[in-house]
Amino acid sequence: MFGLNKSSLFSDTKKLEREIDGFVDILSEVGLVFKSIVPTYLNHSANGKFEEMVEKVKEMESKADKITKEVEHTLYEETLIPDARSDVLRLLEHMDELIGMYQGNCYHFSIQKPDFPKEFHQDLIELTETVVNCVEALCLTVRSFFRDIKTVRDNAHKVTFYEKESDIKFSSLARRIFDSEMPLDQKMHLRYFVEKIDRICDQAEDIADEVQIYAIKRSV
């Protein structure tokens, strides 16, 4: 009645809630897969499994893209959350970019096959773990934004913490790479990979900062 169909409004709402939750799940899962991908890559004996995992990340990225488009479409078509619509869409787009960064890293490993000497394996794995933890904290921050804005700040603080950790680990690893006896081209190549992984954290921190602003705007 009067252009406001109550059952349709609430069913659209529930469907969108599930989609947004699903999107954040994908970001979290891609991170967990990425955390396994790096050690799998470094362990050359399991290359078949590595390609399988890259393919999995690709599938998840396509799924996330599809959800972003659907959410965008529904939010505009049903004129939902007019006050926060642009914020939510920007947030989803930036998180989608984060998934893209994970996928990009996987492809670069798959195509360029960087040769990391064994002495750097542990450091690279630790850097990857910190990066994934950082994105995990971001997922919590985003979930807080949608449901419990009071905890946004606490979770965003964890993102900042992991970003700093990641910076320290990146600097240390980069320094060790350039201090080694490897040829310069290999040093540059490895530095490129280390830097690209660390950049995921920078993007996560930027998004967490954004979410904090959106949360202030959302407060009653």
């Binding site: 109550k6 409004l9 959350i81 419990d148 959302r218 407060s219 009653v220």
Partner: protein, 350 residues
């Protein structure tokens, strides 16, 4: 019906139209301006409930205006309505948030002064007191609602989308209540002066239901308000929604519900009787300004947020409005009465 009666009634209908065009924005402005509710939906709900409020609960405030001054000739009522409409127009042009309520009270006092009729000072003081009380009560109610709602929402941890869906429904329901209260409280401004001289007669439907002349007048006034809502309020709603009240949809709901409660309080015979029955002072049934109730509620929320968002300039201008508008309306009313009785030879009082 005599054509002159229709012409005189047009004065009230004009006032009704301007009330619909301006005050509907107080009820649905934020909801429509922020696109939480479509204009068509808002206009239909607003019109239906304004008419219902006017017919069902419009008597109380009308009686109070009648006690202030019972205009007993149609040309006199016409002059009062036109004076009220004109003064509202002039003050709105000057950027003051005024109300038809203050204008009609000024115009009635103007009629009293011109015709030498007594002004009931006790009723006048009651009316003036409620004008001050109205934004204050709205502010206090808004502060209470805001605190409770904020705590509730933090505890419930609703998803942003679900909160949005609930807020839309709440805005629509609060808007319907607000429109009902607006009709009940403000119909006296539009049609009150015509009640003692109503040109209509009671209509009995199969001896079961009597549609009194007063109710017919209120229906007519309600329809005029509805026409104002449909023809001119859209622009005002978008202005209110986007320019004046930059707040979240939840805060907007609190403003609308607080405003509606205040208007309802000052129009409800039931609440007034109940308070009297338990030996509490009854609430005077007085037409109050919906604009000022809204500003009071916004200021209340602003104070809770630390006072930075409080529009003190608007508060100051309201105070100027309390004094200036009734005086201007009374003057215009007297000038119009002079013109009608001396140039057009019309009887403005018996």
């Amino acid at each position: 019906m005599d054509i002159s009666i229709i012409i005189f009634l047009l004065g009230g209908l004009f006032l009704g139209w301007s009330l619909g065009a301006n005050d509907a924005a107080n009820v649905f402005g934020t909801a429509v301006g922020t696109r939480m509710v479509r204009f068509k939906t808002a206009a239909i709900v607003c019109s239906i409930f304004v008419i219902l409020g006017a017919i069902i609960s419009g008597s109380g405030t009308t009686e109070t205006l009648g006690k202030l001054g019972a205009i007993n000739a149609l040309p006199g009522a016409f002059a009062a309505c036109v004076a009220a409409g004109l003064s509202v127009y002039l003050m709105t042009k000057a950027g003051l948030p005024v109300s038809t309520t203050q204008a009609i009270v000024g115009a009635i006092v103007g009629w009293n002064l011109y015709t030498g009729s007594d002004t009931n000072i006790r009723v006048l003081i009651t009316i003036l007191g409620t004008w001050v009380l109205c934004p204050v009560i709205a502010g206090v109610i808004a502060m209470g609602f805001f605190t409770i709602t904020k705590k509730y929402l933090l505890r419930r941890k609703l998803h942003i989308l679900r909160l949005d869906a609930y807020t839309r429904t709440a805005l629509l329901l609060a808007g319907a209540f607000g429109a009902y209260s607006l009709g009940a409280n403000n119909i006296a401004n539009v049609m009150g002066v015509f009640v003692p001289i109503s040109p209509f007669t009671d209509v009995s439907i199969s001896n079961f239901f009597v549609f009194s002349s007063k109710e017919q007048l209120f229906l007519l006034g309600g329809l005029a308000i509805a026409v104002g809502v449909f023809t001119y309020s859209k622009k005002v709603m978008f202005t209110v929604g986007n320019d004046l009240l930059k707040m979240s949809p939840v805060a907007a709901f609190i403003v609308v519900i607080s405003h509606s409660i205040v208007l309802f309080l000052f129009a409800s015979q039931g609440i007034s009787n109940f308070l009297q029955s338990i030996n509490l002072p009854s609430i005077p049934l007085v037409p109050v300004s919906s604009s000022q109730a809204v500003v009071g509620a916004v200021i209340g929320i602003g104070l809770l947020k630390g006072g930075k968002e409080v529009q003190w300039s608007v508060a100051g201008r309201i105070t100027i409005g309390w004094f200036a508008l009734p005086v201007i309306a009374a003057l215009i009313s007297m000038i119009l009465l002079f013109i009608l009785s001396n140039i057009f030879n019309l009887t403005v009082s018996f």
